[in-house]
């Protein structure tokens, strides 16, 4: 295929090899009024691939809320853009690079990061942060019970998963570190279903002045089209259509030549040169060459601008000799850009790229009439109407079908342990589980402090926080004190059990994390990782998840500004858990008010904020078997009970909103010393982490570490009270002198603020419940389990 010449006669069979169905082929013939040649077929096949055309997801994506008064640019451009005040905007977007990261973990991950960074600076924004949401198969051998059987992870499989993780982490680190953008957050989770289909979702955030935002719309007939950046090679041909738009089989390793290779140094030069070129005012439009390379960039720019475009492949800088038009158009070589400049100002633009040592060549021009014309040494290699190609591709309303209902009963659910169970030991085991344990071993491989804006790096706060320094020199008279907070979240296990509820939790948790850093959540981006859209059950999961996201985003005031859909996440016919990942962006008006999770001072009061205390019946009023059903989906159930079942916790979006507003108000008022939301592992884990973070923040001057003594007075099983993952809750601490202010603010937002304990300098965590010390341990063994177990697991031979 890769050596095909333009002389090959296209047949429906060859079209089928390109993943083009018979109906789609007929549509192509209709648009062209003739049979396509092989280059044209290649172009249609990538443009109409699932990855580029969203043909299966489009009808559902329409249901997402995308508008808001702060949204400057919604979905459809390279990235979403929101107004963050003072004439500044933030561009941000999350994108997947799952399949390449399985085939070749290091390069798959690097090019994932490279692609999303280009999306951001293509908009004219300088990237200031990257987050990565990662999912891997289990990295420890073992088994867990689930509806439908037991899932085992063998030692060999666990070792393979560790190798994939290692490659992915090195790849992310390599690209971001060299490019010079801090990688400051994200999350990592492990489930057996990701064993042969890891998820690598990269989110990038950039800053620009509002009037400097660039769009990818070709304008001005006669304007030159300029190719800049790396030379085009044969790498990554059909990356979008073959790798990203088909499921995996045992032969997938043979797809390695389809994985692109990243060069962060080249991208760094491209960034600086593009931003400098944009400042000349001579650039009309710009589009990066990502998935589907030169094809996608030319066609989309023309389609969006309502113009035509003509390029000559003989002028395209090439790394290899003898490349056919088919190969040049479909290559996914990285670190390339296509831009449209103002006629007569080419020289200015070319000079900027020359200064940065980059190839920049006029390869064509904007034309009238809406045709995308590809010439090759004077011959026409392809001629396609741009708009129908880009916008009138196939759209499928694929059949939906809920999976067969899980027939579970009380006997399938978690059995709360009798009194006398060693909950301290279980807490230690939970803290050591890969999902809960500190990710320090991973995040220390990322440069988290370059650009000197990082106010809260990995693990310091519930969200990653960067200040906005860029603008200071441009803002006359005033210092911008704003900061941005970002969090990515998504619980695949919960989405597997209930995709709608699980997706709502993903939005709520990301927004809650942002609020727990003190920032007001304003917008969201999503990366939707699912199995094959050709399976009705998967489409049902997708549709449910969309409805869940839509409802939660509406309720929490965070419109979706962009993102990406990744289907066909399955290997040997088995789908991953439906895994929508949500990234929420928040604004902190005063960057000195960042909330972190660490307890700060001896004697501070610890409070449990609960936005739901007003509406959800407390645990004593709820039926025991319901508690068990809900608890069966928790991290505790998975780690300690080796059981995944039941339902995700019920969600109350109004309660989530109350808690979010309350946290933002408390942060703005400077009332709190620390804040940490309750998520994986519930209250006990949140308390432990606030202690551990305090230890890390102190310089180890010999005094005992800050610990906590907590007394709980609700009823129900101790395991539920300590480890339940019900939403809308956070643990905060405040000095006694500000207790009244905290409680007054909480009342104002109808959030319960229960005093549950004190920060004590005794180097211990003690939790009393039902008159018993159910957790009682020096911090050090707990901290050691939490801080070092991931490293021990990952560096095990």
């Amino acid at each position: 295929m890769a050596t095909a010449s333009t002389e090959i006669k296209v047949t429906p069979e060859i079209a089928a090899e390109h993943g083009v169905t018979r109906e789609e082929y007929e549509r192509i013939q209709q648009i062209l009024g003739r049979d396509p040649n092989i280059t044209e077929l290649g172009i249609f096949s990538v443009m109409w691939s699932e990855h580029c055309s969203y043909k299966s997801s489009k009808v559902h994506l329409k249901r997402l809320p995308t508008r808001g008064k702060l949204v400057v640019q919604g979905p459809g451009e390279n990235a979403g853009v929101v107004d963050i005040g003072d004439g500044l905007v933030a561009a941000f977007k999350i994108e997947s690079h799952n399949h390449p990261s399985y085939v070749e973990p290091f390069q798959g991950a690097t090019t994932g990061v490279g692609g999303i960074l280009r999306d951001i600076f293509t908009m004219g924004a300088r990237p200031i942060a990257v987050l990565d949401s990662l999912r891997f198969g289990e990295i420890r051998s073992g088994e867990q019970r689930m509806a439908g059987g037991t899932q085992r992870t063998s030692g060999l499989e666990a070792a393979a998963n560790r190798r994939i993780l290692d490659g992915v982490i090195r790849g992310i680190a390599h690209y971001g570190n060299c490019f010079g953008v801090p990688t400051i957050g994200g999350e990592v989770a492990f489930e057996p279903c990701y064993s042969q289909n890891p998820l690598v979702n990269a989110l990038a955030l950039g800053i620009a002045r509002k009037e400097e935002i660039f769009l990818a719309k070709a304008r001005g007939v006669g304007n030159p089209v300029i190719y800049v950046g790396a030379k085009t090679g044969r790498d990554g041909i059909h990356g979008a259509s073959l790798l990203a738009s088909a499921e995996f089989t045992e032969a997938s390793q043979q797809k390695r030549p389809n994985v692109q290779v990243g060069d962060p140094f080249m991208e760094k030069l491209l960034l600086e040169a593009c931003l400098e070129a944009m400042r000349t005012g001579a650039i009309v439009a710009i589009q990066d060459m990502g998935a589907a390379g030169l094809t996608c960039s030319t066609v989309e720019m023309a389609s969006r601008g309502g113009t035509g475009i003509e390029i000559d492949l003989a002028k395209v800088p090439q790394r290899e000799t003898g490349m056919t038009p088919y190969e040049i158009m479909l290559s996914e070589s990285q670190e390339r850009m296509l831009l449209v400049a103002e006629k007569g100002r080419e020289r200015e633009v070319l000079a900027v790229f020359k200064r940065w040592g980059l190839d920049a060549v006029v390869v064509g021009r904007v034309t009238e009439g809406g045709l995308a014309v590809v010439k090759d040494h004077g011959r026409t290699a392809a001629q396609i109407p741009a708009h129908p190609l880009a916008e009138e591709g196939p759209v499928y309303s694929r059949p939906l079908a809920p999976p067969a209902p899980r027939s579970e009963s009380e006997t399938d659910w978690f059995r709360f342990a009798p009194e006398g169970t060693d909950l301290t030991r279980n807490l230690r085991e939970l803290l050591a589980s890969p999902a809960v344990a500190s990710k320090r071993w991973i995040t220390e491989q990322y440069d988290t402090s370059v650009r000197t804006n990082t106010l809260a790096g990995p693990g310091a706060s519930d969200a990653a926080v960067v200040r906005i320094k860029e603008s200071e020199r441009d803002t006359p008279g005033g210092k911008v004190t704003r900061a941005l907070a970002l969090s990515t979240d998504g619980n695949g296990r919960w989405c597997q059990l209930d995709p709608r509820l699980g997706a709502m939790h993903a939005v709520a948790e990301a927004a809650r994390n942002v609020a727990a850093s003190g920032a007001r959540p304003i917008a969201a981006t999503n990366c939707l990782n699912f199995g094959s859209p050709e399976k009705p059950e998967v489409m049902w999961q997708f549709s449910e998840a969309i409805d869940g996201i839509a409802e939660a985003c509406m309720a929490l005031g965070t419109p979706i500004t962009g993102g990406n859909v990744s289907f066909y996440n399955e290997t040997l016919g088995k789908s991953i858990y439906p895994t929508p990942i949500i990234g929420v962006l928040g604004v902190l008006d005063d960057s000195s008010r960042v909330l972190k999770i660490a307890f700060r001072n001896e004697g501070d009061v610890i409070l449990l904020l609960d936005g739901g205390a007003q509406s959800v019946p407390s645990s004593e009023a709820r039926n025991f078997s319901l508690l068990a059903q809900e608890f069966s989906s928790s991290e505790y159930s998975k780690t300690i009970g080796h059981l995944v079942a039941g339902e995700p916790p019920a969600i109350d979006l109004a309660a989530e909103k109350r808690l979010i507003d309350c946290l933002v108000a408390l942060a703005a008022g400077g009332c709190l010393e620390s804040a940490h939301d309750l998520s994986e592992g519930g209250l006990a884990v949140a308390l432990a982490e606030s202690c551990f973070a305090a230890t890390a923040a102190e310089s180890g001057d010999g005094a005992a570490a800050l610990g906590a003594t907590v007394m709980l007075d609700s009823s129900g099983p101790a395991e539920f009270v300590l480890f339940s993952e019900c939403g809308a809750r956070a643990v905060v601490s405040a000095p006694a002198s500000r207790l009244a202010a905290v409680q007054a603010t909480a009342r104002q937002y109808q959030v319960a603020a229960r005093e549950i304990g004190k920060v004590i300098r005794n180097g211990a965590l003690r939790i009393q419940y039902g008159g018993r010390w159910v957790i009682e341990s020096p911090l050090e063994p707990l901290r050691d389990a939490w801080a070092n177990s991931l490293e021990r697991t990952l560096t095990a031979k």
Partner: protein, 236 residues
């Protein structure tokens, strides 16, 4: 008085150094392009961190041949102050302006975290504002930071008191336990025998405000400012 921050293709801490000097210390500062041989009359040159020329081949190995380095070498040999940070330190070693070389970290991974370094000597323009024995909390971010030199070079560095910073623990007691990358003699930073050229792997420009977790790096830039002010007074 003016600072010059060199910009190599692939430098990515150039803006951070510029910000620390210009916006935090309020000193005049200018970028110097790698193809320029004109140092813009700067009185102190900073070679910033990053991945100059992609660091293909070896860290700093290509940067040392860039046009600007000819002028930097001349400037250094005539007594001008040159500070290399991270990739800048690697480049100074490659250029022969500082002895020794940098190898991969002993753990073979990139490491980014706050470390503690102890100020060993204060009779240099880079450390004069610090206290001898002062412990600084400064981040590192590198994969090739394992300082390596031959026995005789190390002995000479020790004898001439050219080791300016050593990795250590927060209490300053256990240097080996505080060594993140396997550097010989726990070396985090050194100067040349004339004491006008210095390099260190940690990033002082990332530790200039408490909001970033530490302001301990300021003392290095303040030392340079004091040295330059002193020199200006002496010639006035």
């Amino acid at each position: 008085m003016k600072f010059g921050v060199v910009v190599f293709p692939g430098s990515n801490c150039d803006h951070d150094a510029f910000y620390a000097i210009g916006s935090v210390l309020h000193q005049p500062v200018e970028f110097i392009w790698h193809q320029s041989q004109d140092l813009a009359q700067a009185d102190a040159i900073v070679l910033p961190g990053g991945f100059s020329y992609g660091d293909y081949l070896r860290t700093g190995a290509i940067a040392r041949f860039s046009p600007v380095m000819k002028s930097v070498e001349k400037f250094a040999r005539s007594g001008g102050l040159v500070l290399g940070i991270c990739n800048g330190f690697q480049t100074l070693c490659e250029a022969g302006l500082l002895p020794g070389a940098m190898m991969r970290n002993s753990g073979l991974r990139f490491i980014c975290r706050h470390v503690r370094i102890r100020v060993e000597e204060t009779d240099t323009p880079f450390t004069s504002a610090a206290r001898r024995g002062q412990i600084l909390k400064i981040p590192i971010a590198h994969s090739d930071g394992c300082y390596t030199a031959g026995e005789s070079t190390l002995a000479e560095l020790e004898r001439n008191r050219q080791i300016l910073f050593r990795y250590t623990t927060p209490d300053g007691i256990n240097d080996a336990a505080g060594n993140p990358n396997g550097s010989m003699h726990n070396i985090a930073g050194i100067c040349n025998s004339q004491r006008n050229v210095a390099g260190l792997m940690p990033h002082p420009e990332r530790a200039v405000e408490l909001a970033l977790g530490s302001a301990d790096g300021l003392v290095i830039f303040q030392s340079i400012v004091e040295a330059l002010v002193g020199a200006a007074k002496a010639t006035a």
